[in-house]
């Protein structure tokens, strides 16, 4: 199903287990450069774990992950990450601009503090997600959609080639959802590869050009038209899919 040639992300035989329970089993995934890929699957399918394993945040029991043919450690500078919004405490004493500047911390390295250049980049990224007017706002005063945009802006200032996003559409309003979709398409237009953990099956074929169906094992992955089929969905969700809208 995968195309040959250069690969933005190449996951081979990846197995992850928490204690004795396998969370991901023998996953293979090849993502060519410049695609918008969504990972879909039921709760507990291992979607977040897959993202974290690609980022080296969880240690796999077996298998390997390559980003443009090199291990993640060598490619950090070209990978951007958007964690789940709910994974942090939004009552942390800081403001929007400060959070976005955190996206530059990796490039800054140890001890060096963000300066005017980082500020500029952060403001530009906030502009892109429509949050520039909120730059000095305390983060606890943001709505869910605004929090999500701040996280996206933080990933944008990473100026990455490959983006991994964990449920960016989770609990956001329609306006934010449209803004995020526009942003994703813009990233793709600029040749970036974007992997998005996604929940809403109905929008998969509208928003993404590739899809991976995951339920601990990889059920299928490839262009939406080819693999987003009722059969594959049934296999992924165990026949519990109420709505199915397959490839156009």
């Amino acid at each position: 199903m995968e195309t040959a040639g250069s690969k933005a992300i190449e996951v081979t035989d990846l197995t992850v287990a928490y204690q004795d329970k396998p969370v991901l089993w023998d996953i293979d995934l090849n993502v060519p450069p410049g695609v918008l890929l969504s990972i879909v699957g039921p709760n507990g399918a291992g979607k977040t774990t897959l993202i974290k394993a690609i980022l080296g945040l969880v240690r796999p029991a077996a298998g390997s992950v390559l980003i443009y043919n090199k291990p993640y450690e060598a490619q950090r500078q070209i990978v951007g990450y958007v964690p789940q919004r709910g994974s942090v405490d939004w009552d942390f004493p800081t403001n929007v601009l400060d959070v976005v500047m955190m996206g530059r911390y990796g490039a800054l390295g140890w001890v060096r503090r963000p300066g005017r250049q980082e500020r500029e980049l952060a403001l530009q990224a906030l502009e892109k997600v429509g949050m520039a007017v909120y730059a000095t706002r305390q983060i606890s005063q943001l709505s869910g959609g605004q929090q999500q945009r701040v996280f996206l802006a933080r990933a944008l200032v990473q100026d990455a080639t490959v983006y991994l996003m964990d449920e960016p559409f989770q609990g956001v309003d329609a306006t934010t959802e449209r803004a995020i979709v526009t942003l994703l398409q813009e990233l793709r237009a600029n040749g970036k590869t974007v992997v998005v953990v996604h929940h809403d099956l109905q929008t998969v074929s509208d928003y993404f050009d590739w899809v991976m169906l995951l339920n601990i094992r990889r059920i299928a992955s490839g262009p939406v038209d080819e693999v987003f089929t009722p059969d594959n969905l049934r296999e992924t969700y165990g026949g519990r899919v109420a709505f199915m809208k397959t490839g156009k």
Binding site: K52, R76, S87, F92, P93, T94, V99, M102, G106, V111
Partner: protein, 304 residues
């Protein structure tokens, strides 16, 4: 003014004690901020209780009551206790709060047994060891102030140097790791700083109540500001304030242990902050709530 300077000149000991309490209040308040923001308020409690057997063992091994040696013993024990908690959480299915409770009570129990044994031996040198339970700031001498100043100052400098890294660790550990920062090492660094802050405070505040000195100033500071920099600074100030006022009160009124007095002073600061701080304070909340209700009512009436 003159009488004040006379008083200070007269009571040089009290001044030394107050300086010591101010220093340790600053250090524990500033570093406690990180514990509070990481939702690890109780970790301080575990560390301070776990430090107790370290003091006893250090005394048994060396027969010395030199503060630096006892503090070193306390630090090692406190650090081991923390490491044990982290390992239990990582290697077993036991949850964080249970691991904390197990380690805290076990270490504290061992500490109490050892202290009792030391007292039974009738070693004339042992008097004063139990100050580490409830704290006795009056025992702070010049050399202790020096120890607190150097170690505490070093901890604060480390915090400032790694400001950006520690902030990121506390706010979003996964993101920090994805950027390549060694979060395990940073975690150990932050915990070690916390251990230092705690063992420095043991002599004056005592193992039982030391965690309040980490938590109370930070909780109070959070009420007044939405910026981390200011929160750390304010927590340090509140800690110093509680330290000095508690020490002075306990040394003027005889026979009141210093630790509880300092903690009560910190509690007053917390109480005032929770009630009166702008934005977050309860009084403000109430006023705003009532104003909103009135405005809504007026708007509704105007519409009718």
């Amino acid at each position: 003014m003159e009488s004040l300077s006379i008083l200070i000149h007269l009571d040089y000991t009290l001044m030394i004690v107050a300086i010591g309490a101010a220093l340790l209040g600053t250090v524990s308040g500033a570093l406690g901020t990180y514990a509070v923001l990481r939702r690890q308020s109780l970790l301080g409690d575990a560390i301070s209780h776990a430090a107790l057997p370290g003091i006893a063992i250090a005394f048994l091994l060396t027969g010395s009551k030199t503060p630096l040696i006892l503090v070193l013993g306390a630090a090692i024990a406190g650090w081991l206790g923390t490491l044990l908690i982290m390992s239990i959480v990582r290697l077993t299915r036991i949850k964080y709060d249970s691991a904390l409770a197990i380690v805290l009570s076990t270490f504290f129990g061992v500490g109490l047994v050892l202290h009792t044994l030391i007292q039974r031996t009738g070693n004339a040198n042992q008097a004063g060891l139990d100050t580490f339970l409830f704290g006795q700031a009056a025992t702070i001498l010049e050399r202790d102030v020096l120890t607190i100043g150097i170690l505490g100052g070093a901890s604060i400098i480390v915090t400032l140097v790694f400001w950006k890294e520690l902030k990121l660790l506390v706010f979003d550990e996964d993101f920090a790791a994805s950027l390549g920062f060694p979060t395990r090492t940073l975690d150990i660094l932050l915990t070690s700083l916390l251990v230092i802050a705690i063992v420095l405070g043991l002599q004056a505040v005592g193992a039982v109540l030391m965690s309040a000195m980490l938590v109370a100033p930070a909780v109070a500071a959070r009420q007044w500001t939405n910026r981390l920099r200011l929160m750390v600074f304010l927590a340090g100030c509140f800690g110093a304030l509680a330290g000095v006022s508690g020490t002075i009160i306990s040394s003027t009124a005889s026979r009141i242990p210093t630790g509880p007095t300092i903690v009560l002073c910190a509690t007053v600061v917390v109480g005032i902050s929770i009630a009166f701080a702008p934005n977050r304070g309860l009084v403000w909340h109430r006023i705003r709530h009532q104003r909103n209700r009135r405005d809504l009512k007026m708007a509704a009436e105007a519409q009718e």
